[in-house]
């Protein structure tokens, strides 16, 4: 079976699954008891399928953004490496798109089997989205993706602009698909509500748009767009690492070294915004119902956030370490220097940010009036100060501040699973309890972002002033790329679990109660092992897709348009 036929069959299978799933809602007997899923139980079964589908979805929605940016850069810079990278990633996206569709259909069936009444109710609430908009967007997206992929070679040269436009259209369709499905997803957390009337009454008078455009819909959209770009970038970094390790020649190693570097750069750029879009989502949810905030930050899920702090800190360390290793292959890096203000401000940033945010907490603008000039000082005032320091010194101070900032972020109010049952022996002393508060945490996050930005700015300067020798990167860097991809997938799974668990005794918050036997908050340990398992399965699937899509190219020898890039090319 050739690739277009296989894709068509997959698409038709997805359509059949969706239609069968949605139409079975009407065939269902009200009050029918749900099944007990063998081995895992119902909740874990839904959790596994939903998260697996979400991970695939995140990649197939994030990768096209990454791909079109790369294709456009290649066109603008007339650098064939970008085009080759974009095409290779698209090839993998096509394979994973089919799997996303299949797991989407599977997800509906598992939901219908395990929680039939609730699923029926939710589909009825969003019938137009589930039966028309989402499948239609998915089909249009699939058509655009296949057209984009199969016109790659035909639309080059003067027609390249047309191909990029098709890529932009593909992205718009992908975004519309995500926005559509984020409606029911966010609705489950923050359904429509009106002051003075009950949630059921508010729901009765709500239009479909009211239900979609609920309190957490747009923050979730923003968080997911940003997250998908970062996620797509890290997964492309993983692909580059695999290919770098399996490269047979120095020119291939040079190309995949460059690919890993570019993917990591885009991913880190998006990752720097992630904590803030995540905070916006959390802020909106807390504003909707303050008990969400307690549950997340102080009570049952507080240690989930402790774990999040640990893994995000590791990601920041990982991406800075990648820069450190990358610097080793830049000839002339020893001559690159930076203003002394950079390390000085890096050291000053955590205490000033914590003080500023504690004194002038959001939305007071004074904190910005303090922090923005401080963050810009090395860039604006640096040129007026003659004293400079070496790249290594700046980066070492950066590493120190990343560790310190993450330590501040990680230090909780107390080492207890729930705040209500906190005892004195596990709690911060009264005089130091500001360490556990939100202004301190935000100050620490800002410091992490600032130190990383300085390191990447320095890296840019080193690339401009020195000569980068592609293919000569330290072998450890490929493990760093794998580590970053694994950790970002894991972090996504953890935070997705938090968002879903927030509803606690409800399928849809305050509307549809969930008093099934599994409606309790699971332990962090159980959740972590489950997330690890799902991450491993996702890794296996991506690895197989990479092998299927890119290895034949290696065996046959590549086409001339992705010409080899000699090592040493800048």
């Amino acid at each position: 079976m050739n690739i277009p036929t296989r894709n068509l069959v997959t698409l038709l299978a997805f359509l059949a699954l969706c239609l069968a799933g949605v139409s079975s809602v009407y065939a269902q007997t009200p009050g029918a008891s749900s099944l007990e899923f063998p081995y895992t139980g119902n909740r874990a079964a839904v959790w596994i399928v939903a998260q697996f589908h979400t991970l695939l979805g995140a990649f197939v929605l994030g990768a096209p953004i990454f791909v079109v940016i790369a294709e456009w850069l290649g066109y603008r810079k007339q650098d064939l490496r970008y085009d080759r990278m974009a095409k290779e990633v698209t090839k993998i996206t096509v394979i994973l798109f089919s799997l996303t569709a299949l797991t989407g259909g599977l997800f509906i069936f598992v939901l219908l089997a395990t929680y039939p009444q609730f699923t029926t109710w939710l589909i009825n609430q969003f019938y137009l989205v589930f039966a028309v908009i989402y499948p239609l967007m998915f089909i249009l997206g699939a058509i655009a993706l296949y057209a984009y992929f199969y016109t790659w070679d035909a639309w080059k040269g003067e027609k390249k602009g047309r191909h990029i436009a098709l890529g932009v259209l593909l992205n718009l369709l992908c975004l519309a698909t995500m926005f559509a499905i984020n409606g029911p997803t966010s609705f489950m957390n923050t359904p429509v509500k009106e002051e003075g009337i009950s949630p059921m009454e508010a729901l009765a008078v709500a239009t479909l748009w009211d239900k979609i455009a609920n309190a957490s819909w747009m923050p979730l959209n923003i968080h997911r767009i940003d997250g998908n770009i970062a996620f797509g970038g890290f997964v492309v970094g993983l692909i580059a690492a695999y290919m770098h390790m399996s490269a047979k020649s120095q020119e291939e190693r040079a190309y995949y070294d460059w690919m890993g570097f570019t993917a990591n750069l885009i991913a880190v750029g998006a990752m720097l915004l992630q904590p803030f879009t995540g905070l916006l989502l959390a802020y909106e949810m807390c504003d909707y119902d303050f008990s969400f905030c307690q549950y997340m930050m102080v009570e049952q899920l507080s240690m989930f956030f402790e774990m999040q702090g640990a893994i995000v800190g590791l990601m920041f360390l990982g991406c800075n370490y990648y820069v450190w290793l990358s610097l080793r292959r830049i000839q002339g890096v020893e001559q690159v220097r930076m203003t002394v203000l950079a390390p000085v401000v890096m050291v000053l940033f955590p205490p000033v940010a914590i003080w500023g945010l504690t004194t002038y907490w959001i939305p007071e603008p004074m904190s910005l009036a303090i922090l923005i000039p401080l963050a810009l000082a090395p860039f604006l005032l640096g040129r007026f100060i003659p004293m400079t320091v070496s790249v290594q010194t700046v980066m070492k101070v950066g590493f120190l501040m990343v560790v310190v900032s993450d330590a501040i972020w990680l230090t909780p109010n107390g080492f207890a699973a729930t705040g209500a049952r906190m005892v004195e022996d596990l709690k911060l002393p009264e005089a130091w309890d500001f360490i556990g508060k939100m202004p301190t945490k935000l100050g620490a996050i800002l410091s992490l972002v600032f130190a990383t930005t300085i390191n990447y700015a320095l890296y840019g300067k080193a690339i401009r002033q020195g000569t980068i020798v592609w293919g000569k990167i330290d072998g450890i860097s490929q493990f760093v790329l794998i580590f970053l991809a694994f950790t970002s997938i894991w972090a996504m799974g953890l935070m997705g679990a938090v968002r879903s668990l927030l509803r606690k005794y409800f399928h849809t918050y305050n509307l549809i109660p969930d008093f099934t036997a599994e409606s309790f908050t699971p332990t962090l340990s159980y959740s972590a092992w489950l997330i690890t398992g799902i991450t491993v399965v996702f890794f296996i699937v991506v690895s197989v897709a990479v092998f299927v899509a890119l290895r034949p190219l290696e065996l046959k020898g590549r086409e001339p348009e992705g010409s080899p890039v000699p090592a040493g090319t800048k």
Binding site: S198, P199, M245, S246, A247, K248, F290, S291, Q294, V298, Q300, M303, E306, M307, L317, Y321, R328, K396, F399, V403, V404, A407, L410, F415, A417, G419, A420, E424, D425, L426, P429, A431, W432, I473, G475, Q478, F479, I482, F483, F486, T487, Y505, N510, F515, T516, A517, S519, F520, T521, T523, L524, S525, S527, A528, W529, I531, T532, T535, V536, F539
Partner: protein
Amino acid sequence: MGKAIFKLVIGLAVGSGLWFTAKALGFPSVFQWAFFIYAAIGTVVFLLLDIPSMKPQSGWGAAASVFLFFGVLCVGYGAGASLLPQFDPEDEKGKTARVLSSAKSGNPLDPWKADEVIQRTKELDEKVKELEARIKALGSGQPTVVQPERDPGPRTVGDPMKIGEEQWQLQECYNCHKLRGEGGKKRGPELDNIGTYLTVDQIKQKIMDPKSYMATGFEKEWEKGRMPDKFKDVMSDGEITALAAWLYTFKNTAVDTPIPVKKK
């Protein structure tokens, strides 16, 4: 090698310094060790900076290294998460089991009669007043402390105090309100003396409409609507009445419960 040993010595010195400083500043031991671990992580990071370059791997050797690396990551994340304090799900399982057993026994939404709850509350209130009078007559001069029954035996459908306490647990009011020395005192007012200030109906009104009363000193929280406006929707009238009646029995004047101000 000498550089690595030097870094290890520095790391150990910083870790020990943090450990002793934290001890001197009154941090509990768990924090002292946490700070030591942070210093250890920092040491590992600085050791990694000077690690010798590794030649690019390829072939089966690379595949084996990648597998091994995945194994380390999987065990590291799973085990790392397991080392943190774990919430005991039995707590919530018990709550769901109670709700499910109520549902089996009859009406799942209102298994308790509101009238019966109010009647029982009045009886209890009378008892409280009687006890207060007796204590005053004894001339103790101490503030009146009335605690609800701690262990009234097995719950019956008509036991409003037990139902009220169950609702307190089920709705997790303790997350924000301190009561009997337990719970989060800073996010909402401590409620041990609430029965002195509000009647059952007034407490009920506050639960159903959080904006109806404002605790003195909690103006910011009241302005921001920190108390969820959901209980009238997720609790039956009987449940709210039971909770209000149970809270009304708390008249511990030794506790500085903020005075509620009527706003609606």
